[in-house]
């Protein structure tokens, strides 16, 4: 049961002047009735409000802190303190008025939207630069740790590394194989379609071989691992960070980079070249199948052309990029994990960031490599 909040002008005084100066508050002054209460107050003119000398709160049936707050905004603290409220309501009013007393209206950041936009651009630019700096620093840290443990086999973590190799390498074989097989077939189809017009369909073999050995195998494997493994690294290390496990390691005199990062980096360094090799095989296999079915180039002929025209250097160019990509992906995944700050939200944000960054870095590095190899004539 609720009563509409309303205000009555009390006329009990016989003095003409003071008749306007007392207001009687009635009904429920609660959060539920907030808008009605505000409407009742807005109905008073400014001069009426300033003319009020006393409030009579004896007829207030229910009052809560929202109601006190509203009244305070219109009538100020003093009038409510003397409003003859009932005992419980008086206690409430005292507490709320106390809270209102040291009120400092919060600064509203209602700036120019253009300025906000510029500010946003600046902030993002700085954070990107900051990110690259952190990545370089982390690279140094990882290399430092690697070089210190490299010549001390007793510090090698075989079990952790092997477990990671299984996770990120062995378990990824089916998806990498299937994906590159399909892409190999697609490339061969494209080649067959375009090259056939020039009567050069036989060069499809060269196209598939060239594309897969140099670029596609390593790129596809790296992008797959960036999506599959960098995110896993970030989520694993991130939830450990959120759970203070990283701090626990450090407090026990263990080096988190050595314990957590090195096995992951090493496992990546082992897994990605192997996966690249598998990707090359499957891609070429896909191409070979399409050549056989669509162009009547038998596997034997395919192998003959392949071994005659494709130089081994293409293989080494492709494979040589794998360790670099592996290192970058592992580093970004781990670094983003360490950046997580104690909440589920943060784990999610950094996982996304790690995948985006590692794919971006892989493609960027690949472009740089392509330029470099082109200039070198390899």
């Amino acid at each position: 049961m609720s009563h509409r909040p309303h205000i009555e002008h009390s006329e009990q005084s016989d003095n003409q002047d003071s008749a306007e100066q007392q207001l009687r508050l009635c009904g429920d002054w609660t959060l539920q009735q907030y808008e009605q209460a505000k409407a009742a107050l807005n109905a008073l003119s400014d001069t009426q409000i300033t003319a009020v000398r006393t409030l009579d709160g004896r007829d207030i049936s229910r009052l809560d802190s929202a109601g006190v707050f509203l009244l305070q905004q219109y009538f100020g603290t003093e009038l409510i303190e003397t409003a003859q409220l009932a005992g419980q309501q008086q206690k409430l009013a005292t507490l709320v008025l106390q809270a209102c007393k040291d009120e400092q209206a919060p600064q509203h950041r209602g700036d120019n939207p253009l300025l906000q936009w510029l500010e946003q651009i600046g902030r993002v630019t700085c954070s990107v630069l900051q990110q690259q700096k952190q990545l370089l620093a982390f690279l140094g840290l990882a290399l430092d740790n690697l070089s210190r443990t490299l010549f001390r086999p007793s510090r090698w973590r075989y079990t952790a590394t092997a477990a990671q190799v299984e996770q990120i390498g062995v378990n990824a074989i089916p998806i990498v194989a299937l994906l590159t097989f399909l892409v190999g077939a697609v490339i061969a189809f494209l080649g067959a379609r375009v090259l056939d017009e020039f009567g050069a369909a036989v060069y499809t073999v060269n196209l598939v071989g060239f594309a897969f050995l140099r670029e596609f195998a390593v790129l596809l494997a790296a992008i797959l691992l960036a999506g599959r493994t960098a995110s896993a690294f970030t989520a694993q290390l991130g939830s450990m960070k959120a759970n203070e496990e990283i701090d626990a390691l450090r407090a026990q005199g263990l080096n988190p980079v050595e314990v957590l990062v090195l096995p992951r980096v090493l496992a990546m360094l082992i897994s990605l070249p192997v996966l690249t090799l598998i990707a090359m095989l499957c891609g070429v296999l896909g191409g070979m199948l399409v050549c056989w079915l669509a162009l009547d180039i038998s596997p034997a002929l395919f192998m003959h052309i392949f071994s005659r025209d494709i130089e081994p250097v293409h293989f080494w160019v492709g494979l040589g990029k794998a360790p670099v990509f592996a290192f970058v992906i592992a580093l970004i995944g781990c670094l983003e994990g360490f950046k997580v700050a104690g909440s589920a939200q943060s784990v999610g944000e950094h996982t996304t960031s790690s995948v985006v960054q590692s794919i971006f870095m892989v493609i960027l590095l690949d472009a740089l490599f392509a330029l470099f190899f082109l200039e070198m004539g390899w």
């Binding site: 907030y34 929202a66 409430l92 809270a99 009120e103």
Partner: protein, 265 residues
């Protein structure tokens, strides 16, 4: 037997697999009191609280809040009632993707169609009410200390002007000074707003400082409900070791003879 309280639990059964947590549990919370529920780990304090809040459906029993049978009420009635209950979860359960102000604001925006300015002003008032300055309003939740998290959570619990306040170990993880401050805040707010408070705690200091009555949960039911002083003298062995252990004694001592306690120390 105490007359039926504003919250009344009758014959509550809660069973998880073979594990019987509550059996024929009766409990009454009187209007405007602070009832503290204590009990060993696994005695079902949290399950009891979650049952009353409707977060857990009990196996059997009857729970009435302000005359409404919670387990048989239609959803409209339930929503009405839920809006009158504020909850402070053990670890605050603040929404980590929102700022402090947005956390307090959210229930207000969802349940009432107030103008944005009014809602914000009310939320800021609530933050000040629990002793936080307006300066923290735009902070992210991650940047808060343990004590501040509890205060923001309290502000959020109070924003819809509840009649009932449920607190799950509000002082856990706070330092003694922070815990003491929080207890004082709780009592002040409870007295001023006339709240009915259901408090689950392990903190013996808190029990003596804030409780009107203490309910001890053991052997799958409420063993005893009474004032803290009288519960502390109950002959049950668990209660004795709980209240008469070194921590319990210090807390009681502090309550009844604050000056002596200081001299003893």
């Amino acid at each position: 037997m105490v007359s039926k309280g504003i919250i009344s639990v009758r014959g509550l059964h809660n069973q998880f697999g073979d594990n019987l947590v509550h059996e024929q549990l009766d409990l009454d919370v009187a209007q405007g009191e602070i009832l503290t529920v204590v009990g060993g780990s696994g005695s079902g304090k949290s399950v009891l609280m979650r049952s009353i809040l409707g977060l857990h459906r009990p196996s059997a029993g009857q729970i009435e809040v302000d005359g409404v049978d919670l387990l048989r009420a239609d959803s409209e009635q339930r929503v009405q009632l839920e809006r009158r209950m504020g909850v402070l979860f053990q670890r605050g359960a603040l929404y980590s993707s929102l700022t402090v102000l947005e956390n307090v604001l959210l229930p207000l925006q969802e349940h009432l169609s107030l103008p944005a300015e009014d809602a914000e002003a009310l939320a800021l008032m609530k933050l000040r009410l629990v002793g936080l300055s307006s300066a923290v309003a735009d902070n992210s939740v991650q940047s808060l200390s343990g004590g501040m998290i509890k205060r923001v959570a309290l502000a959020r619990a109070l924003i819809l002007e509840p009649d009932f306040l449920f607190l799950d170990e509000p002082t856990a993880g706070l330092d003694p000074i922070g815990a003491n401050d929080f207890d004082e805040l709780l009592v002040t707010v409870q007295r001023a707003l006339g709240l009915t408070v259901f408090l689950v705690t392990h903190d013996v200091d808190s029990i003596f400082k804030v409780s009107d009555r203490v309910a001890v949960l053991a052997e799958r039911k409420v063993l005893v409900v009474d004032t803290p002083e009288r519960v502390a003298t109950h002959p049950d062995q668990w209660i004795q070791s709980y209240f008469q252990g070194p921590r319990g004694r210090a807390a009681q001592h502090g309550k009844s003879h604050p000056v002596n306690a200081k001299e003893d120390a």
